[in-house]
Amino acid sequence: MTRLLDIKDLHVGLPAGGQRKYAVEAANLHLNDNEILCVVGESGSGKSLTARAIMGLLPKPHVHIAKGSVTFQGEDLAAASEARLRDIRGSEISMIFQEPMTALNPVMTIGNQIDEVFRFHEKMPAQERRSRALKLLQDVQLPDPEQALGAYPHQLSGGQRQRAMIAMALALDPKILIADEPTTALDVTTQAQVLRLIKQMQESHGTGVVFITHDFGVVADIADRVAVMQNGLVVETGTTDEVLRRPTHPYTQALMAAVPSLIPRPPRPRAEERVLRVNALTKTYRSGGGLLGGKARVVHAAKQVTLDLTRGETLGIVGESGSGKSTVARCIVRLTDAEAGEILLGDTDLRPLGRAAMRPHRAKIQMVFQDPFASLNPRAKVGRIIAQGPEMYGASSAEARDKALELLKIVGLDDRAYDRFPHEFSGGQRQRIGIARALALEPQILVADEPVSALDVSIQAQILTLLDEIRDRMNLSMIFITHDLRVAAQVCDRIAVMQRGEVVEIGPTAELFANPQHSYTTELLAAVPGKGWFASETKPLTEAS
């Protein structure tokens, strides 16, 4: 076992005048060959900057290594010249990133981008460079390597792009691969494949990998050793087993506790009253076409979708991107017009209603959105955001204000929030504001579209708890859209699995998890990272925190 990398007392300095002086403080880490070190932490923990500091890729000129050393095979990279770093990058240490779409140059072919690595580090004829690039693409299991070589990034799928990135990173057989959240932007099934690929490549080349992630599931699947970071500090390091099973630091413990269990919570009795029935809902998107325009592209976002929802129930809609789960949600709240089917709220079919006819029903179905940053008008004060709903439905401004203040309290914010702007709040707090807005009209049904997927895991748990509380307190029915089966297991009474616009399976959560009927459901369940690591230890969410 060789020590590849030794990080000693690393301080990454932030620009003067900021809240913090260091983004990373006194970090001590090391990496051996043929091992995967996972650096795990929530946003703002400094994990990404640590990774970039190794490569000398900190955003210049304001963020810089203030103190400490990064020793790579006896050489301090923190003190190395830019030219020396350039030699090392790509050949000895290489890196892959979270979003392969933006990390690849959109106007250059994959082949050319791989070619660059060879050109800048080794002298070899063009012919050989090409054949090696081809070999690399074969190694990362791209379906048609020949074609991929001449393809532009946008012509590949997300998973393929990340494979190409990995091929590029491994072109010169580097000693160290730094992977910065490489699977975060991918669907679960793809994520599982890419993780497998990284593991394979690492094993066959004996590479040392620094793997940055926020997802303990991924950590569990891939890591040999783990370093946990919080607010720029490395709070705990150890083998995967030590850290995940016997965390010593309270922060690690809290994080572990917050990871939702894959074991569904106990079923609750289902009410008789059906508040919503969706029958054969169909929505098709067309693009292109028209006059002289050639064939139109047709996407079936929702194909004959049938669902129902009883009072007090939470129905989960689960699927990967493009499955149509969001389309169904948007059709139900009438943000999108479905072209066929029924949306029965009580006895009223909402689908054919015009704007005016829809208006009296609007209040009954409200929505919570995914992105806590995009879902609040940055130019409006929080009080107005919440109070404008009741005002539109006839409440006086005093009543609306009282209502808003009450709701703020319910979602766990204090009165001072009323006169502030959204940007003054953290992501979790904003999501609370979004929930308060949805509740202001006292709806019967809450449609939550990936309400926690943009949040850190500890915040995520709090919001899920909040939603649960509110549902019980207000006797709400909820449609909960998510891609995360762990979350679904803890929130939903029943789950509908969607694939390519169709509901392939629907049933009570526990049954569906225990005995999936459709192969796709099985596939999804199999792909959940970290299976078996947390299930036995963590308690059901409702009792946690």
Partner: protein
Amino acid sequence: MQFWRLFSRNRSAVMGMFILIAIFLMAISAPLFFPADPFSLAGQSMSPPGANGFLLGSDSLGRDVAAGIAHGAKTSLLIGLLATLVAVFVGVIMGALAGYYGGVIDNLLMRTTEMFQTIPSFLFAILLVAIMKPSIESIVIAIAVVSWPAVARLVRGEFLSLRNREFVQACHTLGMGDVRIMLGEILPNCLSPIIVIGSLMVATAILIESGLAFLGLGDPNIMSWGFQIGAGRTLLRSAWWVCTFPGIAILLTVLAINLVGEGLNDALNPRLRDRS
């Protein structure tokens, strides 16, 4: 204030703002310092700067160039601001409707916009002024007519991207009316780029006015920098000051507005905030 802190980081923008304030003050205080009609024949004609009591010289009729610049500042700024206001007003309406509703309305409005952009703009301004006869009003209208398409395109783009943002959708789920969403929710969020493009448009309007005046299409009854340049251009070789000083006034103003515009852009555009 955050905005001011960001803005003041850009030193040239602050300088531009001070120049602009100075020009504003000059425009406002012109009647104090130069109480006489700037057209009045104040003394010896073609006096060089400093001679015969003319700070910046006099023109061929013995009019005070300095008085003309001071009084002209008001006209030039007024033309710039009014034309921009009209253009922004029209452009925002067209762009908002097109971007918000999309589809046929968008198609129709954008074809119209495209049409106006396809007509050579300066030529079109000349044509409009010639038809409406040279006056402040016609110049303002002409400049506005050739300027609004840029605003419309910008606003359309902003509306197009904002209308699908989740906070707008949240308003839909509340059952909010279109006009209220457009004016109350979306518009405030695209004010920054509108302010930036508007500020640059003021500068362009001032340049267009001087160009029209050069071609003899200025308002003969109102003192403006364009008028002074038009009146002094044949004297350029014999009495350089007559048209050079108003030219410098235009240059400084346009420069200042552009600097301020860039500063606004840096301060208002969050994407650029972290740089420099």
